[in-house]
Symmetry: C2
Subunit: 201 residues, 2 copies
């Protein structure tokens, strides 16, 4: 039998470090080129912090078999690019009807979600918030706080990730930006191109 054994891992809610992970994945700020609306501000961020880690994923992946689950931590460091808060690249699941749950461990963030037709939904997250991202929703984490935004996620092991759906549309429909009063708000993304809807009348 190739079944995995019972396993225990330990999550540090402040740093997102997961002792017992099977894999770690990191993105530096200089790997996020083309994602932010203000290109001059992004160039300046890269000049100052380009080689720093923007976000990190620690995961426990027992298998990629249908019916199994993968879980792990996502740690997104704080920052702004012009008025835009720093975010993860975001994805939709390659098998589109697979959901995901995110459980906030620390920090202050927004789960920004979007359907292919451009319907947008944002959920604010603080410690102990759990967000259910339903099937067929593109999703991205945004850090609107001053410290790391750490979530514990869980999703079906066969889900996979499609990152291209966001890139092909020039980003997500809305930006999450500074509201000028220490909070956040949504603003239209000027570079957004609506997706052609298969099957639309």
């Amino acid at each position: 039998m190739s079944n995995p054994l019972p396993t225990s891992v330990l999550v540090d809610p402040g740093s997102g470090e997961m002792a017992g992970r099977t894999r770690r994945y990191q993105k530096r700020f200089d790997e996020l080129a083309g994602l932010f609306a203000d290109e001059a501000a992004f160039a300046e961020l890269v000049r100052q912090r380009g080689s720093e880690v923007a976000y990190q994923v620690d995961e426990f992946r027992p298998s990629e078999r249908a019916g199994d689950v993968i879980f792990g931590t996502s740690t997104l460091y704080p920052g702004k690019v012009g008025q835009e808060y720093v975010f993860t690249r975001g994805h939709i699941h390659a098998i589109g009807d697979r959901p995901e749950i995110y459980h906030c461990q620390s920090g202050h963030g927004v789960m920004l979600m979007e359907l292919a037709d451009g319907t947008v939904h944002a959920e604010e997250m603080r410690p102990n918030t759990v967000v259910y991202v339903p099937p067929h929703w593109i999703h991205r984490s945004v850090n609107v706080g001053a410290g790391p935004f750490v979530t514990l996620f869980c999703y079906p092991a066969d889900a996979g990730q499609d990152y291209g759906i966001i890139a092909r549309s020039g980003g997500m429909r809305d930006l999450v930006v500074d509201d000028g009063a220490g909070g956040w708000t949504q603003a239209p993304n000027p570079r957004y191109r609506p997706r052609a809807l298969a099957g639309a009348a």
Copy 2:
């Protein structure tokens, strides 16, 4: 489309209360008859606390569709029956190859796991521990602490639960008992009957 909408729930890590749940399930102590080795001690517990809640499950169940996930909180109150620590009834998934993850929110517990052939594995849990229960492992939560033992769980939505596999064997192979020094230890269950192994040579 009957897909669920994005949803946010809030977990109270101390009480296990989940605001935004779709269902709550409770078991009183007097509903746990026949599960503990010391029947006189169980009768005394029922006399004193029979109508109290022994454990409670708050869940968010978007669907029972293959590929979806169900999550929720399990809150197991403290207690002992003779030398045995209080536990949940326990189950194996009706679709046997479905796993489950448990993330300790508060308290001190043990995830007691067992394969059909009687192989036993116990994982101690404190806040921030995450246990992966692999496919084909029977599992039960045990509270070895002085306060509520609260976990957040997540499992594939089509998994289902089979409770009979434990009852038919007279319980799980090991008991989790007081070690006489304020801690816990495993002891053989005198009522355990090994399962007939289909396909054994």
